[in-house]
Symmetry: C2
Subunit: 131 residues, 2 copies
Amino acid sequence: MPLTAKQGQLLKELKRCKGELSGQDLHARLRKGSRPMGLATVYRHLRQLQQLGEVRCRHLPSGEALYAPAERDEHHLTCVDCGSTTTLESCPVHSVHLDAGQLGGFRPLFHTLEFFGLCGECQQRHQGAAG
Amino acid sequence: MPLTAKQGQLLKELKRCKGELSGQDLHARLRKGSRPMGLATVYRHLRQLQQLGEVRCRHLPSGEALYAPAERDEHHLTCVDCGSTTTLESCPVHSVHLDAGQLGGFRPLFHTLEFFGLCGECQQRHQGAAG
DNA sequence: TTGAGAATGATAATGGTTATCACAAGTTGT
DNA sequence: ACAACTTGTGATAACCATTATCATTCTCAA
């Protein structure tokens, strides 16, 4: 099933950006260009593209969802205090494989590996109060 | 820094449950028992326990956050359509290690590895519409 | 007892996401 | 071309988990 025009437009915009975008971000960007798209449509297609395996998403501690093309196999460090995230340059796991027994009919589309902890800045801030 | 009484109470309740609990779930459970706890306090302590490395959390596609003791090193399959999640029996990665260069001052507390895709049920439901 | 500071919790506010629903666009059959 | 029907769209309202507010309660030392 090829993508529809709007789906393609959305995916193209997502690929154009180096970083991850939230639904709101994406809507704002598309709104500026020619061919704007309503917010509801953005979220609709993000979900559809996700189910097609074209887009992956992860959630920040704030609850906000960030989307990126599924082909980007990036992993992240996220601070549980300030919420800042950084992208790992190299993947720490060399093979992530699930055998059929583990899957039990489930068809994997993408995966996320995230490390949560405290960034240097927040560690320092807390040091005064309690080691 | 030892846990406060309320923090300990909350962590104990979390450990008592086999599955993961949302903030709302946890609040409801504590409300029933003796020694109830306000919703704000539940969320406050969940965040603190997370920063202490005692509790980990992950987000469902719905945006809801699920909490569990950090000591549980479980991974999950999550359906991007219906949102159902299942727990993997065994860990698919044998060593998840980050070297200092990758960390850059970040102090990891816990990590999450999640697989997103379509569960068997949702695959069947979509089969009629489009292969 | 008294006062300063921390903890608590009922409630209001926040804000990303989803549901609603009327309308536009496309499709088919005649 | 026209009608009947399906699908896609988007402004807006509704949803709901989470967070902020703030008055009250608790803690504890002097």
